[in-house]
Symmetry: C2
Subunit: 464 residues, 2 copies
């Protein structure tokens, strides 16, 4: 596992070191994270009216499930969370008041899936007769990204005591660089309570990440209920450190309503020791508990059962099967398994063309995979930040993920040519995004230091 952690730290730290190479905070006021595809702005200001409203006139999408409505309500919470808005609106010239946000979703299809159109266009008018800001998107999920961007254009005006949109007029035309922008969480090494996972999902949306890779099970514990094989979660750490099937469905639904797919993973045939607590015959032998006993038909029945149950809640087109770190010594040492082993060695070149390879063993692999005609997460469909759970739990997951994952999120969202070449500029924006996360109650850590460290001295959030 250390290997995995080191790799993750390497990937993420490399990105962060790249943007933190020079100290000091940028004075650039264009503090949007991740940087959109294209942005233009002016120098005037508008203010959100007291009854800033959602207008969906002309939208093809039927918001029966309330995804758009709830997203707008969260937008209002985001821009009002930091300070009490108690300004005297009657004192503000109506020609400076934005009445609301007019959202037009062009597609009626509300399905969230890999490869959907996440683009959006956002425009905020100049002062004068502002009326409504305008947001257009092909899908409701593109519109949710637009809400996130709009929330980052807003700030609290300490003089008027209302929400200001500075630098109007705005025109933002935006779409992601990659379809797959993931964050992995690991609920086997440490159980993560539902509210913790929901907070992580909320924070992912702030950075426009769109895949929660849920590494549910591993050697240490099996926290998820599998209705087909109810003894599997006997491998949980404790009775209360378990997810019911309904809990898992709730996580998928919570994420989906925020435009985030959930990639469910069962790691086979290695990393599966915990399966045998409930079903010991899955082990080659009691003394040699992993990898799974591939000579036992029951093993494949259980895997089938898990995948069949998965298909009832995980609607993402991919399921992750792990396949990593298979220590085959238990197969070799167990006579009835040894006969079978060969069929499992070097199965890489026997993989179906539909397989997508998730590369974590570092450099070189991605190239070989692509050369072999297979798709690969890294640099092809996208990428992900892996928050392995050996040394994190509900007490420190947020500051371990943030702000480092934000560096990866921008590289997965923003066109390569738009990525800032001046580290000084990115440092200021990243510090601003970290402080924005803190303002929203996300425990993003200071940029200084090696990550997940306490601030070194008293000072402003924006300089740490």
């Amino acid at each position: 596992m250390m290997g995995k952690i080191v790799w993750v730290l390497l990937v993420v730290l490399l990105l962060v070191q790249a943007v933190l190479a020079i100290d000091g905070v940028s004075v650039d006021r264009l503090n949007i994270w991740p940087m959109p595809h294209s942005v233009s702005h002016g120098r005037e200001s508008l203010f959100l009216s007291k009854d800033f409203e959602l207008n969906t006139e002309g939208t093809k999408y039927n918001d029966g499930s309330g995804i758009l409505k709830d997203g707008f309500s969260r937008l209002l919470d985001m821009v009002r969370v930091a300070h009490v808005v108690d300004g005297n609106f009657s004192k503000i010239d109506t020609s400076l008041l934005l009445q609301g946000l007019h959202v037009v979703v062009l597609s009626a299809d509300g399905q969230l899936q890999y490869g959907i159109d996440e683009s959006y266009k956002l425009s905020v008018p100049a002062s004068g007769k502002p009326g409504y800001a305008y947001l257009e998107a092909h899908t409701v999920y593109g519109a949710l990204h637009g809400f996130q961007t709009f929330s980052q254009l807003c700030l609290f005006n300490f003089t008027a005591r209302v929400i200001e949109v500075p630098m109007v007029p705005w025109t933002v035309i935006d779409q992601p660089r990659f379809f797959f922008r993931g964050l992995l969480i690991d609920t086997s090494r440490h159980y993560l309570p539902l509210p913790v996972i929901k907070n992580v999902i909320d924070s992912m949306a702030y950075a426009k990440l769109n895949v929660l890779h849920w590494h549910i099970v591993d050697a240490q514990s099996f926290p998820l209920e599998i209705p087909s094989y109810p003894k599997l979660w006997d491998g949980a750490y404790s009775v209360s450190e378990r997810y019911t099937f309904a809990d898992a469905a709730e996580i998928v639904s919570y994420a989906q309503r925020r435009g985030i797919n959930v990639l469910g993973e069962i790691d086979v045939p290695g990393h599966a020791r915990s399966w045998g607590i409930g079903y010991p015959s899955l082990w080659p032998s009691k003394d040699c508990p992993e990898p799974l006993d591939v000579s036992n038909n029951f093993t494949f029945k259980v895997i089938d059962g898990i995948l069949s149950d998965f298909s009832k809640i995980f609607k993402f087109k991919f399921v992750h099967l792990g396949g990593d770190e298979v220590n085959t010594s238990c197969w070799t040492l167990t006579p009835h398994v040894k006969k079978w082993e060969e069929t499992f060695n070097n199965f890489g070149n026997k993989l179906s063309r539909k397989t997508v390879v998730h590369n974590w063993l570092g450099a070189g692999v991605a190239e070989k995979v692509v050369a072999a005609g297979l798709r690969c997460i890294k640099l092809v469909l996208g990428g992900e930040v892996c928050m392995w759970g050996e040394y994190i739990d509900g007490s420190d997951i947020e500051q371990t993920i943030w702000p480092r994952a934000a560096a990866a999120a921008e590289r997965l969202w923003t066109p390569y040519d738009n990525l800032a070449k001046d580290p000084r500029q990115v440092t200021g924006r990243l510090a601003h995004f970290r402080c924005l996360l803190n303002q929203r109650g996300v425990a993003a850590a200071p940029l200084a230091g090696l990550g997940r460290v306490a601030p070194e001295e008293p000072g402003s959030c924006y300089t740490q």
Copy 2:
């Protein structure tokens, strides 16, 4: 400042070390924190009905402000936060279903103040014809404590998929050992956004702490708006790292609705360098910026203005004036101040009898203060945990406070004779409370280690 931090760590660590002296987790199932004054329970179980409701028949308190109603709604959120409640209630014998909680508040007075009656009596009937659980309290704030205790009696039943109250019938008779059970936060060394402070207030309520000591201002920054002297918050770290007067009122109101008083502090005459950014004449001289220039009448006008503005939002009967670490060298070195200095030296024995001394300089002081006929926070009115802000911010305040503050909270709430004498038993309960905090989204750190550290290895929350 290090002196203060060291002291805090000492006090808190001593408490925690006391309860962590022996490893291992208690098997005692009476997992209530802080331990009530008296508890008795049985061995049966009841379940919360689908429409578990609040019944206030016979209550003298008019809940016009909704404090009781909102508290009950938070109670439901607390017991339902960890898992989806999707059990089939029609399958449960109605003689096992609790219909709701009948709350009787005996006093009509809804004012929160030092020394109010916080006692409550909670009873949960045996199975049979359960009807309602019964909660009686003199004040609405005692009832809120009863809600917290009730929430800790509940757990999710993974078989029935509903909320269970095990070990019924319950009778809990409870009241605090001390009136003053405080937690200090410091918003000068690092600005804490409103949502962070609100989360801290929520978590205080879980441990029945009742005073938020808000160390608002110090040498490093002056984040609070003072309407009488609007340039004072020019001493803030940045434009956005400020609290409007309405923000401060919102914090006081948010805390008050949860039974928590806010003790506002301005630290004078030392620790006030930041005041002079907006009003340089408050400094003895530009080269010698603190303590405040006590030879300047304007200094006292400003202090009067601050206290007068404070009185508009801070309704607690105490205001904290700091008075610590007064380095008088700037007074001695500045001729026009030197003449005045004597009046400020050794003013301890000139303090009004109404003064309450907050002792942080360690052993010996409390005794002298009491001997001098003055009241003292520590061991007399109560005590507090001081979370100084030099090395914490919104990213790590929760896991620095918790679970360590819980050890202090129990000693301030639970009668001395009831405090567990077996560290093994307390370790299990404290670990359970820490995991409960995680379940509610509070980033309480593992018990193991020196505090605010990552878990050392994969494992159950209850063993770390």
